[in-house]
Amino acid sequence: MEYDFASLIVEETAENWLLRYIFYGEPAIEQVQLYMRLNKAERTIPSISTIIHAADWHEREARDFFGPVYSDVAESALFLLESVGEDVIRTTPRFFYKFRGVEKIAEGQSVGRVLLLAERFSGTSAFAHSLAFCQAVETICQVDVPARAKALRVVFAELERFRHHLAAIAGICNSTALAVATSQASILEEEALRLSCSLTGHRYLFGLNLPGGVSLDLSIGQCEFLSYGVQVLFHKLQRLFNLLRYSSSFLDRLAEVGMVSKEQARSYGLVGPIARASGIARDLRQVLPYAAYADVSFEVPGEEEGDGYARLRVLFREVGQSVNILRGLLSSLPKGEAAASQVAVKPGAALGWAEAPRGATSHWVRIDEEGRVARYHLTTPSFTNWHGFHLAAEDFAYQDFPIIMATFGLSNAECDR
C-alpha cells in the first residue's frame, strides 16, 4: 500500500526535536504518522526529500524555522523568468515576502486568540482554515459537536468554496484579457460576496467558527434565501461557461498551457483542484470526512489533461457540486444547537484538517497545561502547490505567464503565513 506525503511537523522540547511525518491514509485509518525523536545535540536530520520530493519545502522550512513586486492588484512575490526572446525557459519563484510568523506568534496565546489568527492569515479561505483549527481543538478537548453545527459548517465551507471558485474563474477570464467574460464573472463574484454578507454579516465569512460549533444559526427563511441565491448564481455561471466553451480565442490560450503531468503532481504531492485536473482525485471531504461530509454524497470531479483548461473545468464542476451539496443540506438541516454549550480547554495535541477551496490543509495544535497554544503548525494548499508551480511554468510563451498564474489560483498569504 502506498501513502502520499502530507506534511512534516516539528516540535521542540527541552532536550529533543520531535519530528512528525504525516501521510494521507484511508477513511478507516485516517492519517499515517511517523514519529521521530532526535536529541538536540544532533545537528543534522536525515532528509526524506531524495525519496519523497513533496517533502522538499517542508524540510527546508523546518531548517529555517529552528535555527518582493508585480502590476495590477497582486500579492507580493518575485518571479525570475529566464527567457530567450519571447520564450521563457524556466521560472524561479521566490516567496515568503509576506511571512508574518503566524505559527510563532500563536505560541503562548489563548485558543480564542489563535482562532483569530487561523481565520485571518488567509482571508480568502478563512472559513476552511478556522474549521481545521477548531476541529483540532475539539479533538484535544474531546468536544461533542452537535449535528446541526456540523451541517452548518458544511454549508459555510461550501459557500466559501463557491465564492472562491467564482473569483478564480473571474481571474482566469481576466488573464486571457476577455473583457466581457471578466466583467460577467466579476459580477457573479460580487453577488456571491453580498450573499455571504447578507446571510452571515461578513463578506469573507469571518467570525463564524468557534471551538464546539458555529456562532450563527440559520433560520428556515435564511436557508431558502441561500439555497435560491446560489442556484441563481450558478445558472448565470453556466450561461457564462457555455459561452466560454465555444470561444475559440479563449480556449486556445488555456489548452495545453501550464501542463502538470500526473506523475509530477504525485511526486510533488499537489493538492486541490490542481491535482484533480492532473488525474489525482484526492479530496479530504471524501478520503477523511470531517464535519457532516460523511453524510453528504457528491462527486469529486477529475480531469486527466493537467493543463489550464482542465483546471478551469475542475473549478466549474466543483462549483456545481457545491451548489448540489448546499441545496441538499439546506432543505434538511438537522435540528439542535449550533454550538456545543461548553468547551473546557484541556492539554494535548491533535491534527485538524479540511479541504480548503485551494486544497487540503492541516493544522497541528498543541495545548499546554495552562490552556495556551504551545505549538501551532500549518500546512496549507498554497504552500504545497506553489512548490510545484515551476513544473507548469517551463518552456512557454511569455504572454502565457498570467494564464498559468491564474489557473493555479494560489494565495501567497496562505503560503507564506
Binding site: A74, S76, L116, A167, S183, L193
Partner: protein, 261 residues
C-alpha cells in the same frame, strides 16, 4: 465576438450610484457595532461588555464603553457572545475613512488638479488576501472606480497614491519604502484595513512592523477587516477632497523588531 457584445448589453449596468446616492443594497458592508459610546449603570457592567473584544476595539472609561473603529476586526464576538442587557446592534454603514491630519494640510497637498484623475499603486505588505480582493472589486463592474477618475498603475513612478494593505512584514519593508521613495511629489498614502493601521491581529512582532505609519507618513486610514469596496471608494474620494473624511488620531502601534533587516 458578437455573442459577447450581446451578453454584455443584456446584463445591463450594475454599477453603484455611490457617491451621488447612498448604496442601499444588502451585503455591501460588514458593519460596525452601533450606538457607541454607551453608558452603563455600573463600571463592572461596562467592563463585562468591553472585555469580550479581543482586538481592543471596545474600550472602557469608567461606566462608558467606547468604540475604536480602527481596531475592529469584525469578529462579531460582542454581537453574538454578549447576552442581554449588554448586547447591541450592528450597523452596515461604509463611510469609514479617517484622516489623522487637519483638512487644510490635506487640501494643500493635492489641490484641485487631482480631483478627477488619480493614479494608484497597490502594495501588498503582508495582507491576508481579503483586503486585496476588496481592492480588486472597486476595479470591477459593481463599483467601477474608473467612472470617478481613479486608475491603477503598475509602477510607483506613475502613481499619486499608494494603497497599502497588511502589517508590513520584514521582507516587504524595503520594497514598500523604495516604492514610496520612487513616487513623484505630491504623493499620498492610504492605509487599508486594521493590519495596515496598527498591525491588526498580527500586531508588531519579530516578523512584522505593525502599521504602515511606522515606516511612511499616512494620509488616510480605512478601518475594517477588510474594508468593504465602498469604504475604499470613500477613502479615495476623501484623499482628493471630494468628500469629508472622519477626523481622528492614528491608533499608535509599537515598532516591530529590527533584527531581521
Amino acid at each position: 465576438m458578437l455573442r459577447w457584445v450581446w451578453e454584455g448589453i443584456r446584463r445591463g449596468i450594475v454599477t453603484t450610484a455611490y457617491p451621488a446616492r447612498e448604496e442601499t443594497a444588502s451585503g455591501v458592508s460588514p458593519g460596525f457595532p452601533a450606538g457607541l459610546p454607551r453608558t452603563f449603570a455600573a463600571s463592572e457592567e461596562a467592563e463585562t461588555a468591553a472585555s469580550c473584544c479581543p482586538s481592543g476595539a471596545l474600550g472602557r472609561e469608567d461606566r462608558q464603553v467606547l468604540f475604536h473603529d480602527q481596531r475592529c476586526i469584525h469578529c462579531y464576538r460582542c454581537l453574538r457572545q454578549l447576552t442581554p442587557p449588554f448586547e447591541w446592534h450592528w450597523q452596515g454603514n461604509y463611510e469609514w475613512a479617517v484622516s489623522p491630519r487637519p483638512s487644510a494640510e490635506r487640501k494643500e497637498k493635492f489641490g484641485k488638479s487631482f480631483r478627477r484623475s488619480l493614479h494608484l499603486r497597490v502594495i501588498d505588505a503582508g495582507a491576508c488576501g481579503a483586503c486585496l480582493s476588496e481592492i480588486e472589486q472597486i476595479n470591477k463592474p459593481y463599483y467601477n472606480m474608473h467612472r470617478l477618475g481613479f486608475f491603477l498603475t503598475p509602477t510607483p513612478r506613475d502613481a499619486d497614491v499608494l494603497l497599502v494593505a497588511g502589517p508590513v512584514t520584514d521582507h516587504m519593508r524595503l520594497p514598500l519604502l523604495k516604492a514610496y521613495e520612487a513616487m513623484p511629489a505630491p504623493k499620498g498614502v492610504l492605509a487599508l484595513g486594521a493590519c495596515a493601521i496598527s498591525g491588526g491581529i498580527f500586531g508588531s512582532s519579530f516578523a512584522s512592523l505593525g502599521g504602515v505609519a511606522n515606516l511612511i507618513p499616512v494620509d488616510i486610514l480605512v478601518p475594517g477587516c477588510p474594508p468593504p469596496p465602498l469604504a475604499i471608494l470613500h477613502a479615495l474620494l476623501a484623499i482628493v477632497g471630494r468628500v469629508q473624511p472622519n477626523m481622528g488620531a492614528t491608533t499608535a502601534s509599537p515598532q516591530g523588531d529590527e533584527h531581521h533587516v
